[in-house]
Symmetry: C2
Subunit: 446 residues, 2 copies
């Protein structure tokens, strides 16, 4: 059995599982219609997503959409959509895409019940999910039976290298994108062989219809809506990682690309050695994980580390790396090339012949912060003044409250946070994060 | 007696001194003619420069030009020019402008004997100094008697603030430029009042003739040669310093602008405090003063400190200040904001999809310098590698021999040099230089 056969044997649902799934789908549909009837609603429950398309892996999320007539009021769609879900699901929690929907359990299977508007064509889209049934139909119509396992292989490959999913936490490939790639290239191997030669801006379209100019690295024009790039959520780094993974897998196929090893945490001693070898200064900001949707959390965290990094670099504290990690707490990590700077700092003023020169002189001559000057350099006034923040920790501490990091991050920081520097971060609870941060290996290399 | 009257009383040569000067000039001219006669040369000795123009200060350099027919060969001009000087002067040394000339003593007065070609108009210029007699004539013709002391005041003002002289050591105002400024504005006070409002690129011309576009801060079109900017040697900083000095003097005239106080050296303890207060790292390179003309020495030193500064900044060692000082030894001083950097250094490679990517990977994967990676960041390959030089001293030591600092500096460094860092520089012999370097005050403020 070769590697891909082995993967297939592990990820394709057995007949028994599929039987359970489709029986459950029928039961759920019936229940939905019954509840709707009691509410005097005319709705149509349909199976969408990977299960409908036959490209699901074992233990899938089952996606059932409840299609409301387009005349339904938005508020009603939301209210009744939730109501139906609550009646049908055994345990559930509320989630939000553009509007709320329920995600829960039915006979121990993961199920989502999502209300949408029943529209005639994708351009009539009234809510964010209305396009999904068209995607499902397109794939069901065009994907051949023998291509379904090829899609599954591609999905598992992307899972294995940690870039499967279009959500903000991942910024990777959606299931629909996997299906379109297999449709375009034929099978898993051809996707790999083609993708290893991709360059930034590669364009894939399924017909000649006009589409906007997309700026993304990978452009896959949605065959059901040419105004949309199916790969728009893909980050540049994940695009690059995929190309490199395809090259590596093509040269030397290995099961680790599909099922990577667990990441072995380094010991505190090893991490301390690493820290000393690098000689950089590591600073961590830890705080309680904000309660919000993963998409919002991750996009705010991604923004936050960038905002803090920009602040530091603006003050001359240059970084070599930064990242964040999340479990019940959040840890933002910043690695500094320049962590401390001397007291004296050059401050540039206007040219000597400029109208503002007298103001500059009179302001700084009496300043408590003045160390030297005013003096002339390259025709400009300069002063040497006392630096406000002698190191990056002081700078961050003094500015963190005032930075716009996103409402959830700001709120969580208001409740409290810790700034740890250097060895203070060397705790067992952070060792896995520090391993990943310092090693920065590809997922299949651990 | 107001300030300017007092200055006049100190700088205008007394009648007795002038009598001595002009008697000496006549004697020298006669001697030159006699020597020329014995050499069968037809030359014409003429008095030029400030003495000829009546704008000289006490104890002036007396400039006597020996005009050769334009048919004279260049080599003969040089040979016989020197020969005449040797016969006439009591003690002398050789100097070079474009060609060699002699500078020496005659009856205890400073005298220069410079050979030149006698040309009809400045555009016929055959050697660098041929224009001088035309300058002398122009000023003698246009400068009024009562303006001569105004020129003297301006010269002394510029001497006092240390920007008198067009030579490379100073990069300031020539005597001829002072005369033209008084011609333009009328008197010393008017020069001050106008110059305090100068802006970069100010243009002064004495007629409407066409001239090239000059890029300098101050443009004074030479009335005897419109292709030349008389202020071309003036540095931007000295231009700015003059504007500011004029403002300050206009607001509050003080004798210190003409006769500044001696610069009081700080004590080693004070300098140590200054060093500690600033927290920057000072590095000095000291070596024997190269034997060459001041113009060459200073232009090479000015270049050298810039080349070394650029090297350091290219490696991330950012400076707050640099300068050089000269007596029997040379000291270059560099003040660092960032003197040390950590071992780990980011090194950027090509984009992951670039044709050179495989070479980058195979090169760095086996490198002894590799610390982390290769990894992907913003679509590019990166590695963290060991920094070649952990601090600016190591960097300078390893590269000084290979830098092109100018032949005289390179030769002197080959004989040996010392690099001193921080407190190692705190020696009594450097305390005046360190005072100037750290304080950076205007000359009239000490």
């Amino acid at each position: 059995m070769n590697i891909e056969e082995e993967v297939i044997s592990r990820i394709v649902p057995k007949e028994k599982e599929n039987k359970q799934i489709f029986e459950a789908v029928e039961k759920v549909k019936a229940k939905i219609l019954k509840v709707a009837d009691s509410l005097r609603l005319e709705v149509e429950p349909i199976l969408v997503g990977s299960v409908a398309k036959g490209t699901h892996l074992t233990d899938p999320d089952i996606d059932i959409f409840v299609m409301f007539p387009p005349t339904t009021k938005r508020a009603d769609l939301e209210t009744y959509g939730l109501k139906i879900g609550e009646e049908v699901l055994e345990r559930f929690e509320k989630k939000y895409a553009e509007h709320p929907y329920l995600c829960g359990k039915f006979e121990d299977m993961d199920l989502e019940i999502v209300p949408c508007f029943k529209i005639d064509k994708p351009s009539d889209k009234m809510s964010a999910v209305d396009r999904t049934p068209f995607h499902t139909n397109f794939i069901m119509k065009h994907l051949k039976e023998e291509q379904k396992n090829e899609v599954r292989l591609l999905k598992q490959f992307l899972k294995g290298i940690n870039i499967y999913g279009a959500e903000s936490e991942i910024e990777g490939f959606s299931g629909y994108l996997c299906e379109l790639l297999v449709l375009r290239y034929g099978d898993f191997t051809s996707v790999i062989e083609n993708a290893k030669n991709w360059k930034k801006g590669v364009l894939i379209a399924f017909d000649d219809r006009k589409h906007p100019e997309f700026e993304d690295c990978l452009i896959v024009v949605d065959p059901v809506d040419p105004g949309r790039n199916v790969a728009s959520a893909l980050s540049q780094d994940n695009f690059a990682t995929f190309i490199y993974a395809c090259k590596e897998y093509s040269a030397k196929p290995r099961i680790e690309f599909f099922f990577p090893n667990e990441i072995p945490s380094e010991t505190i001693d090893d991490l301390k050695n690493e820290m000393e070898k690098r000689e950089t200064t590591l600073l961590g900001i830890s705080f309680e994980k904000p309660i919000t949707l993963p998409d919002i959390l991750h996009s705010q965290l991604r923004k936050s580390v960038k905002v803090i990094t920009n602040l530091c670099e603006r003050y001359g504290f240059n970084l070599t790396n930064y990242d964040y990690f999340v479990n019940s707490e959040v840890m933002m990590l910043f690695e500094f090339e320049v962590f401390s700077l001397p007291q004296a700092k050059l401050h540039k003023g206007p040219p000597v012949w400029h109208a503002n020169a007298p103001d500059f002189l009179s302001k700084w001559r009496i300043s408590q912060k003045l160390i030297k000057g005013p003096y002339i350099k390259n025709g400009n006034w300069y002063v040497d003044i006392k630096r406000d923040f002698l190191n990056a920790k002081e700078l961050i501490e003094s500015n963190l409250d005032a930075l716009n990091l996103g409402s959830h991050i700001n709120e969580s920081l208001e409740k409290g946070y810790k700034i740890l520097v250097g060895r203070e971060i060397l705790k067992d609870s952070y060792s896995l994060w520090l391993t990943i941060f310092y090693k920065n290996k590809f997922r299949w290399e651990y």
